[in-house]
Amino acid sequence: MEILEQKQQEVRNIIQNPTLTHEQTMMSLAKAAENILVTPGVPEEYYQMWRDGLICDLNEGHAPYSPRYILPDYEKFFRQGSEFLRLDPPKTLHEAITNLLILYHHVPSVTHFPVYIGRIDKLLDPFITDEAEAKTLIKGFLLQIDRTVTDSFCHGNIGPEATRAGRIILECERELQNSTPNLTLLYDPAITPDDFAVACVEAALDCAKPSFANHQMFLSELGEDYGIASCYNGLPVAGGAYTLTRLILSKIALAAENKKDFMERVLPHTIDVMCQFMDAKIRFLVEETPFFTCNFLVKEGLIYRERFNGLFGMVGMCECVNTLMEKEGRTDRFGHSKDADALGVEIMNLIQARVNSHKNPYCEFWNGSFMLHAQVGIETDKGTSPGTRIAIGEEIPLYDHLRQAGLFHKYFPSGTGDIFPFDITSSRNPAAILDIIKGSFQVGIRYFSTYSSDSDVIRITGYLVKKSDIAKLEQNQQVVNDTVVLGMGAVHNSHILDRKVRSL
């Protein structure tokens, strides 16, 4: 009875929360209902680790009824239309945009919004006949996405080739100044013309998008059919990710006696429990829900179960290394000492080997193993930096910083990234910033984001938020985009606005 009353109070709190829009209220209620269930097969030890903050399930819900991230094959959708949605293949730009917006509405995810909207430049470019008309339509398309996909984890891709549609998208985004969709240039200096890449830098300095993904690196790991979804997650198109759970390395280090205890006992054991937890969630989704047998995306061949994978996430490498160094009686700090960085690499090698040795029957795409993911942090994280990033406030000179980050990006085919805001003077020479991005790819950077220190739209950790929306929410006003809540939390807890601004 006590549990019932507790649940009733939870529901009442959601319904009475004045800052939630109708849609946000509905989604919170759905989560409350789902969490009445218990995921079968979760090892007992997981719950203690969860309470101790060693493992975090990102509040995914106890009974996953759709995959966390879905990347539909939009090209195929254009070729064949959809029987379920009663849509024919588009013949005009107007039809192409209408079809996409309809399909987006039906692509689930952990946030209930589509986290991947396709290579939108290539999808739309063949339909462009008149550029002025195309701009009007594409601007409306992007506006519609921002106001109805009210969540910044929605991600579009452009490039690596320059297209008319790509240029129009950049122009529109600079005019619109919206946080959604997030945007990534799949960048290959050998394919992407410099003038288009420079236009992307200019847009990024103006509206914090696009980011730059190391196309060659992703291509070599994931193959041609990949996309960047959600924050910066590299995933197979026509597939996606079942789930994402994360190790809180900063807390795991605190639970260890010393470095030896961490490397030999605490970390391996936590990894094993997290793998078993992920096994249980994936098994539930695949075997006990009808998603992979009944959803039209599967039935129409827009996604394949075999192209989904589990994402093994982690955060807090910086604080983890610093804590272990302290426990060894040393003052070395992550990013500031060769030994500290080497310890970080040693930890990554251990995690990679241990995770790869665990096999899950539903992870065929990645050789039966989970993919590593440098999780970008959540709004309640305190004293825990995203993935393997150097803590805000402890940044080092730019070239050194890029080389340091480059040591770690290779471990994360399913996503990692660093953010380097630039000042106004540097913004005057976007070609110089492009040189730095090109150089960064050569030292192992997988994903590079930038914005200008005076933009309204800024990158929080992976997603984008308008600073003006945060200001509204701080005054308890409703805002249409649900991610603003996360952005406000991150600004308060992770000092996002104190990130070092680079001047050249």
Partner: protein, 279 residues
């Protein structure tokens, strides 16, 4: 081989295209009234006048040599302010290898290097050696010059130099002498020759209302160079005079307003220059 280096900026976005490492050499044959970094004009006389003014004890005079402790220096520039010789105690005599080591640390984030000053062409042989190696490493080499070296005769240097960014301070000979202490015959000849070779990516003029014949300079320079625009692109950078770093009494020269800069920009555009930048 050694050359006196005033400083190296690892990433510069204002010394040529893209991101570059800029090397500032010490010494200049001109002494422009409006010089923004007069501490680069002369070589150190080792008089020691700066030593007692250093607030952190980073300077010493020993056996006739000035010793500068970079690790102690706080960059307050007190030494530069008191130097009676338009010089700096922080200049280092560097070898080509030492400069290359520094450049190497900045790869692969830069697309090239820029030699500036002072007047870097005083050390043309040093630059030639430096450029040969940086070019082999895939970097581009730019020179930022006042035009006092006859580039048409500097075959070895020009074989490895991708372009010269040239100061065209005044078109009128007498005005040039008043401003810099030297005539501009060679400067103008250099501008024409470099343009004809496609090695003049940028020209610059500093603008001071009332003190310099700004309109005439821009007009005549554009008239002189416009025939070359058919075959090469030349950026015209029009630079507002600013008092920072400038010596007394020239510090009080007036700063040009937007309308004057726009008028000059329009003159350049009317002669077919398409890339005119006001800074």
């Amino acid at each position: 081989m050694r050359a006196p280096v005033n400083k190296i900026i690892d990433h510069s976005v204002v010394d040529g295209d893209g991101n570059r490492t800029a090397i500032f050499f010490q010494g200049c044959p001109f002494s422009c009234l409006y010089c923004h970094n007069p501490e680069t004009i002369s070589l150190c006389q080792k008089c020691g006048a700066c030593v007692s003014h250093c607030p952190v004890g980073a300077l010493r005079l020993e056996h006739g040599e000035i010793l500068w402790r970079e690790d102690l220096c706080v960059g307050c520039d007190s030494c530069l302010k008191v130097c009676p010789h338009n010089s700096s105690p922080k200049v280092r005599e560097m070898t080509v290898e030492e400069v290359l080591d520094r450049v190497e640390q900045n790869r692969p984030f830069i697309r090239g290097i820029t030699c500036s000053g002072g007047e870097c062409t005083l050390y043309a042989d040093f630059m030639t050696q430096l450029f040969k190696i940086t070019r082999e490493r895939g970097l581009t080499n730019l020179v930022d010059s006042n035009g006092t070296l006859d580039f048409s005769q500097a075959d070895d240097l020009m074989a490895v130099c991708d372009g010269v960014m040239l100061d065209l301070k005044c078109f009128d000979r007498q005005a040039h002498i008043r401003l810099t202490g030297k005539d501009n015959d060679l400067v103008l000849a250099n501008a024409r020759w470099l343009a004809s070779q496609g090695k003049l990516p940028e020209i610059r003029t500093v603008v001071i209302p009332g003190e310099l014949p700004n309109q005439e300079t821009v007009r005549e320079v554009c008239k002189m160079l416009s025939p070359y625009l058919k075959t090469t692109s030349i950026r015209y950078k029009l630079i507002r005079f600013r008092p920072w770093g400038v010596r007394e009494p020239y510090k009080s020269f007036p700063v040009p307003d937007d309308s004057l800069m726009e008028e000059l920009r329009q003159i350049a555009l009317s002669y077919g220059f398409t890339d005119v930048l006001v800074v």
